[in-house]
């Protein structure tokens, strides 16, 4: 039992740390900070600059890919170190839709043409992807999806609507689950996995504003959209298999331990600045207790993740236990946005970034903390709600 890093790992950690220090652009840092204070959405440039820089450095933009596709080929420990260092340095998160979600499906189930066409753009960050899974009314019952793809010659004609599509407003491509066989015995059996160019005529992206006023997700409408049949991944009607494969991928890293550590650090600093009864809030026993509980929960979660990782390194694969990481990871993110909001007392109220908010008010660090709290309620809903995750553990792990 040993949680110290090997000398190779430490060398790697230093390499990552140096790379970030030397290559993460200050202008990007400033731009994001400014938008955070304004409660503004990040631009496509904000979202992809760092991705592009990483892409030029030994495939660091795609740490999980096999080396044959240009991936970094990190070991699980290296992946962990890489994520931790990026979080420590507060680097912008590389959007997962291309690199972590679509690409593994392409290089696992796609043909050579598809790999050659799509993987380089995902690696480099030139091509931005979004995910077309959810539909109005489908929610956690993904297999009930209704968007149809009807084959006509060498094309599919797509009709229907996707929703909750994160960052679709910036996307060049979307990977979609569509219904190719409406008469299949089970709803899962008639679904296919297809790649669609967002510039194809008939696609319309409509913004959805979340309760903090931010346009993070969208509706994507398909009206007789003509998609070349060569964009179908693998076999027709086998999409559900690929989707399940992808869902397992999606959950890794969802615990977001390193980012949450950073968040606790910041909450402590805020609580040291805020006053309560003439003393810094961080001396209030009730608030102290909440910070301590969060910190301990996070340490537990960190070691739960490390244990999963160790199992993974030993070739045993993470398995459905990763649902635990999703549940606890999102609980933690939610708890921390709540604590941060609570720390600033009355300054949870101001709503910056609306057309009516002209000047900043309150301490710098208070800006939009309530917005974050409200926004992060999504974390226990998306990617399979935490209720669904409990169902998965009950069935797959406990055999109930």
């Amino acid at each position: 039992m040993d949680t110290t890093f090997s000398s190779e790992d430490i060398a790697f950690q230093n390499e990552v740390r140096d790379f970030i220090a030397n290559n993460y652009p200050q202008s990007l840092r400033d731009s994001i900070a400014e938008k955070k204070r304004n409660n503004e959405e990040l631009s496509r440039e904000d979202l992809t600059t760092w991705h592009k820089i990483l892409g030029k450095n030994k495939g660091w933009s795609v740490p999980g890919w096999p080396e044959q596709y240009g991936g970094a080929g990190f070991t699980p420990t290296q992946k962990y170190i890489f994520e931790q260092e990026c979080a420590r340095a507060e680097c912008v998160i590389v959007a997962p839709f291309g690199p972590q979600m679509c690409a593994p499906v392409i290089y696992t189930f796609g043909n050579e043409e598809q790999k050659a066409k799509h993987l380089p753009g995902i690696l480099s960050g030139e091509v931005f992807w979004c995910q077309g899974y959810s539909e109005p009314g489908s929610g956690s019952d993904l297999a009930s999806l209704k968007t149809t793809a009807v084959k006509e010659g060498d094309h599919y004609i797509i009709n229907g609507q996707k929703t909750w599509t994160t960052l679709a407003q910036h996307a060049d491509w979307i990977f979609c689950l569509v219904r190719t066989n409406p008469d299949a015995a089970k709803p899962q059996e008639g679904i296919s996995f297809i790649l669609i160019d967002m510039k194809t005529p008939g696609i319309e992206v409509r913004p959805i504003y979340l309760m903090d006023g931010i346009n993070e997700v969208n509706e994507v409408w398909f009206d007789n959209v003509k998609v070349p049949a060569e964009n179908l991944i693998g076999q027709e009607n086998m999409g559900w298999t690929y989707a399940k494969f992808l869902l397992a991928h999606e959950r890794s890293g969802i615990a977001q331990v390193a980012r949450s550590k950073k968040a606790i650090e910041r909450i402590k600093q805020i609580a040291a600045a805020e006053m309560s009864y003439g003393e810094p809030l961080i001396q209030d026993p009730a608030f102290q207790r909440k910070i301590a509980e969060a910190e301990l929960e996070l340490t537990s979660l960190e070691y739960t993740e490390l244990r999963t990782l160790a199992k993974d390194s030993a070739g045993k694969g993470p398995g459905p236990e990763s649902s635990l990481l999703k549940i606890k990871g999102t609980d933690m993110q939610q708890k921390l946005t709540e604590l941060a909001m609570e720390a600033v007392g009355y300054y949870a109220n101001p709503h910056m970034g609306t057309s009516l908010s002209n000047e900043y008010v309150g301490p710098d660090y208070s800006t939009n903390l309530s917005g974050s709290y409200f926004n992060f309620r999504k974390a226990s809903i998306y990617g399979g709600s935490n209720e669904i995750q409990r169902n998965i553990i009950a069935k797959m792990v406990l055999g109930l």
Binding site: L210, R377, S380, I381
Partner: protein
């Protein structure tokens, strides 16, 4: 012993319910909150017509002489409609301060105008460093002859941009956190020396930062006794806290009922999600939390509020406990609504946001728990347990 409303209270309730139903439906409200001003002055005239603006004032001054139950009745319904007009800050808070402290000439001058809807006061008490501590006042007032000069900064004053006048708590003597030495001043909100920075709040109300620079106020405009405002401020904030609790309870009812309805309608895996036992039990717990919140509100409004200790205990107890309900019911409502709970377009998120912000107003759970502890756990006689211990330690 009973929990029925009086005939007058029932009339009041019906009146406010009708207003929310007829004049404040969701589309109307959406339009109001998107205006630059963030309220609809016509509604204020309507409140005046309905007599709502007279609630806190004594019958001598043409008021209703309203009790905590009257405030509750109004605010619970306003909560259900998410009414943004500044009834709580201008009437239940500032109005009540004036009612309790104004001298005869001030009262005669001010109260009729408030009741008619012509004047609206707001009360600026919080400062960036004070958090919820009412005695922590740095804004200074120094006297020179018949005039005071005020300097300072007041934070998050709800409704200030809609007000005609302001009541400022300022320090005339004592240390920054001493209860003694706080004085209230009345001023026209457009006075030289007052600058407002107005902004929307996350729950679509309006608040302002108030910068006070060399504001000159005549000593006629002192409200109440010099240096001695603290205990009345505490009392009036306590009563407004009950109003905030009442608004919250109205909102919690909407959150709970809407979520139950939604879960009955929303289908997944071929059946309403309300058929899932885990969801059923969560809905039951939401219902229990709502009932417990309502109960402790009833405990507060029926307490002996004329006794300061009883009042503080009842108010802090209710605010702390209801704060817990807000978190549980609010977060559960969003979770069970799934994606629909997250969007700005659907009304549930707005109720959640308002409830959450009411949890902060006048002090959050920790603040009121601590105050409640101070009132209920001091001077406890220790039980004697020494009889069976040997060795005489």
């Amino acid at each position: 012993m009973h929990f029925e409303l009086t005939e007058e209270q029932t009339l009041l309730e019906n009146m406010v319910t009708a207003f929310v139903r007829d004049d404040y439906n969701w589309e109307t409200r959406e339009k109001i909150v998107k205006t630059e001003e963030g309220w609809k002055p016509e509604n204020w005239s309507k409140f005046a017509e309905l007599g709502l603006l007279s609630v806190p004032f004594s019958e001598d001054h043409g008021g209703l002489g309203g009790t905590a139950v009257d405030s509750m009745v109004v605010m619970e319904q306003f909560g259900k409609g998410l009414v943004v007009e500044p009834f709580m800050p201008s009437i239940l808070l500032s109005g009540n301060l004036i009612s309790k402290l104004a001298n005869e000439s001030q009262a005669n001058e001010i109260i009729p105008k408030i009741i008619e809807g012509e004047s609206r006061y707001v009360f600026a008490y919080a400062e960036p460093q004070s958090r919820f501590d009412l005695s922590d006042v740095k804004t200074s007032a120094t006297k020179d002859g018949d005039e005071y000069t005020l300097n300072g900064f007041k934070s998050v004053v709800f409704g200030a941009s809609m007000a005609t006048h302001i009541i400022i708590a300022a320090r005339t003597s004592g240390d920054q956190r001493s209860e003694d030495g706080i004085t209230l001043f009345l001023a026209d909100i457009k006075s030289n020396g007052i600058t407002l920075q107005t902004y929307p709040t996350i729950d679509e109300y309006r608040a302002s930062e108030v910068v006070i620079e060399n504001l000159k106020i005549s000593s006629d405009m002192v409200l109440g006794e010099v240096d001695k405002a603290y205990s009345v401020v505490e009392e009036v904030i306590d009563l407004a806290t009950i109003a905030a609790c009442s608004e919250a309870v109205g909102i919690l009812q909407v959150l709970k009922d809407s979520t139950i309805d939604y879960c009955k309608q929303r289908k997944q895996f071929g059946q309403p999600i309300s058929k899932n036992q885990a969801i059923q039990h969560k809905l039951v717990d939401m219902m229990i939390e709502y009932e417990q919140a309502k109960s402790i509100l009833y405990a507060a409004v029926t307490a002996d509020l004329s006794n300061a200790d009883e009042r503080k205990k009842a108010v802090s107890g209710a605010k702390a406990r209801i704060g817990q309900s807000i978190k549980f019911v609010g977060e559960s409502a969003i979770q069970l609504h799934g994606g629909m709970g997250m969007v700005d377009e659907y009304m549930i998120s707005h109720y959640f946001k308002r409830a959450t912000m009411l949890g902060v107003l006048f002090g959050n759970v920790d603040f009121h728990m601590k105050r409640f502890v101070g009132l209920t756990q001091s001077n406890i006689e220790p039980i004697d347990g020494s009889a069976t211990i040997r060795g005489g330690y």
